[in-house]
């Protein structure tokens, strides 16, 4: 898994709450047996018009947000399904960080497995970042996982929390399965007891 230490990127505001996994990646795109190829289908029903072609009013289709790698959005992002295709699509599209007041559990967990950082901040902080991203063209943030801070060029500085273990795995880009297999003796001992 690719490590995450510090990332600076263009911010795109998706100013909606409760964005669910069916919006992030609709089911017809779950038929692939690969881990790749989902980026072009991210937010499919919002990005493309029913008759085909991009929907110009959708935020990610606007030229000023091309190349965005940080998404700021509303509460309960990623609610619904356990489909890991959702973070895969976001990641392949280019996002490495998602900032929101809250996330659905399974979705957030899936993000960590893919070198992506879901960050919880307060409603006010989300509103502030969203406002700046909407107002200032080319608005970027720097997210530093080592210091657990988010900063911009205009004096914004936010500290965020993340579990020590998940932070450690992301910083080192660790293979979690390899970590578990180090405890082979404990696993065998458990199985012997049962």
């Amino acid at each position: 898994m690719q490590a995450f230490r510090k990332h600076t990127g263009l911010v795109a505001p998706l100013d909606r709450a409760n964005v669910d996994t069916d919006q992030i990646i609709p089911k017809q795109f779950l038929k692939s047996i690969e881990r790749t190829g989902f980026g072009e289908f991210l937010f499919f029903d919002w990005r493309y018009r029913p008759e085909g072609g991009p929907e110009p009013s959708f935020i990610l289709n606007q030229p000023r947000y091309q190349g965005a790698s940080i998404l700021v959005t509303g509460k309960n992002f990623g609610c619904g399904s356990s489909r890991e295709h959702a973070p895969w699509a976001l990641r392949e599209f280019g996002f490495r960080v998602i900032i929101a007041p809250s996330f659905a559990d399974i979705f957030a967990n899936n993000c960590f497995k893919n070198g992506m950082l879901p960050i919880v901040v307060s409603d006010d902080q989300v509103a502030r970042i969203t406002g700046r991203a909407q107002y200032a063209e080319g608005y970027t943030l720097t997210v530093d996982l080592e210091t657990k801070t988010i900063t911009d060029d205009a004096g914004l500085s936010i500290e965020f929390s993340v579990s020590d273990f998940q932070r450690y795995c992301l910083l080192e880009g660790l293979d979690e399965i390899g970590l578990t297999l180090r405890h082979e003796a404990d696993i065998s001992a458990y199985e012997a007891r049962k």
Partner: protein
């Protein structure tokens, strides 16, 4: 002082180190075709084997057609996915219930009916409705594909312990009000993130009064409130259900299992992080009006007015939902006409659900403006229903009777809504586009879906004239 959840958790700790998630052992790993291909590919690439093929069971459900199963699957990518699971199971030595096997069905329906799902277990699957199995007093939760690979390789998962929420359901559900309505009422009350970070234990008279099928419906919907898992302590109802099931313990092992299972309940002085109380006797049949399971009201009520919303976020969400669903504020739910009905899904496609729907349908014809599908949760459910003549009741009424699969719950196969079609559905999610792009989903109980299909609009099934 421990809760049922504490007992399940503590019984499965392989290893616990300070500052790290606990390593939890997984007793049963259920697998289906959509979330497993990349996991098996990862195993192969890393040169790893499945540690416990004997604790792993697979079937096909999301992608499979519900008609013409003797023909090859027309959708090439779907066919590839199904073929991939078949060959992965063969390569890694995993029991696989293939598309034309007697046991095939929705993974969360076949687990219990085969007796694979048992009290006291940890159960995972790459599907969020794994919470269904918690009805047996197990810790059952959905996982992503990377975690599927993790379980295949190690039979364990690193897990941070969630908090525990108790939902105490007092009273008895009135006639015509079902476990589905109880689930919708709860989600309506606490929202789709109301239980995030928690496992829910359902307790109380109303819960004890539910059959296993009803308990499965209730636990199934836990994820829609944002919960990690939902569970109900096992009791004689649970044991009666399991007795004699194919993979349930038998003989001396059965007696031993019973002794162990009887201890699986929260202590009287157990402390929960949160508690919610709900009076089941006051509930009505519920209908979702919006684009999230939390946007729900009783059948006798109206579509809400966004101006009444408590926050700006809620107001915007309601406005957007009403536009998508093409509904007017304050219109009566009973005036909402439907085009389609879907009786199916892991939420409500067990035999009891089909019986309830058939009881409504018997003697009636479907409304000429409605097309309805009845999709049994498994081939076993289908056979049992046919033995009771339920299929004839549905067919004679003009409902389509299908083979088992997830079908129109999420429309990965050909069973989808066309843009603008409005559906009374017994499934679990009404997100935008869930059942097909532009499709409008209203979640209801099986009886309510059947009644709506006949009336052509939502009706209060408590007033239904059974024939």
């Amino acid at each position: 002082m421990p809760t049922l959840f504490d007992k399940l958790w503590n019984n499965h700790i392989v290893r616990q180190s300070p500052g790290e998630p606990a390593l939890i052992y997984i007793d049963l790993h259920l697998v289906h075709e959509v979330t497993s291909p990349q996991a098996f590919a990862g195993l192969r690439q890393a040169g790893r084997k499945v540690r416990r093929p004997d604790l792993t069971v697979a079937t096909v459900d999301h992608n499979v057609p519900t008609t013409d199963r003797s023909l090859p699957i027309a959708d090439v990518t779907a066919a590839t996915q199904v073929n991939t699971l078949r060959s992965n199971c063969s390569e890694f030595g995993i029991q696989f219930f293939d598309i034309n096997s007697r046991e095939q069905g929705i993974v969360h329906v076949i687990g219990p009916e085969l007796g694979l799902t048992q009290p006291g277990m940890t159960i995972v699957c790459g599907d969020s409705h794994t919470s269904t199995h918690g009805a047996f007093g197990s810790l059952a939760f959905g996982i992503g594909t990377s975690e599927v690979e993790h379980v295949l390789a190690t039979q364990c998962l690193p897990q941070t312990k969630p908090r525990a929420m108790r939902i105490e359901c007092s009273g008895n559900l009135p006639e015509g009000v079902t476990a589905k309505d109880l689930a919708l009422a709860i989600i309506g009350r606490i929202g789709t993130d109301g239980a995030t970070g928690h496992v829910i234990e359902y307790t109380g008279e109303a819960v004890r009064g539910l059959s296993m099928s009803g308990r499965m419906t209730l636990c199934n919907m836990s994820i829609e409130a944002g919960a990690k898992a939902g569970m109900i302590a096992p009791d004689e109802t649970t044991f009666e259900y399991l007795r004699g099931k194919r993979f349930a313990p038998a003989g001396g092992a059965w007696q031993e299992a019973l002794a162990e299972w009887r201890g699986l309940k929260s202590d009287d002085d157990a402390v929960f992080d949160r508690t919610l109380e709900i009076d089941a006797s006051k509930l009505e049949p519920f209908v979702t009006w919006g684009t999230s399971p939390g946007m729900v009201v009783p059948i006798t009520s109206q579509v809400p007015d966004p101006t009444d919303a408590k926050t700006e976020i809620d107001r915007q969400a309601a406005l957007r939902a009403l536009e998508y669903m093409a509904l007017e504020p304050r219109m009566n739910i009973q005036d909402i006409e439907i085009d389609r009905a879907f009786i199916g899904s892991c939420t409500n496609a067990r035999l009891e659900d089909l019986r309830a729907a058939a009881r409504v349908v018997r003697g009636y014809r479907i409304n000429p403006g409605v097309n309805a599908l009845v999709v049994p949760g498994s081939q076993e459910v289908k056979r049992a229903a046919e033995q009771e003549g339920l299929d004839r009741i549905f067919s004679e009424a003009g409902f389509e009777w299908r083979d088992a699969g997830c079908s129109m719950c999420l429309g990965m196969n050909a069973d989808i809504l066309q843009p603008g079609q409005r559906c009374a559905s017994t499934s679990n999610r009404n997100f935008e586009g869930r059942q097909g792009r532009g499709g409008r989903t209203h979640l209801v109980s099986p009886m309510m879906a059947a009644a709506a299909a006949i009336a052509g609009h939502f009706v209060d099934v408590r007033q239904w004239e059974f024939r």
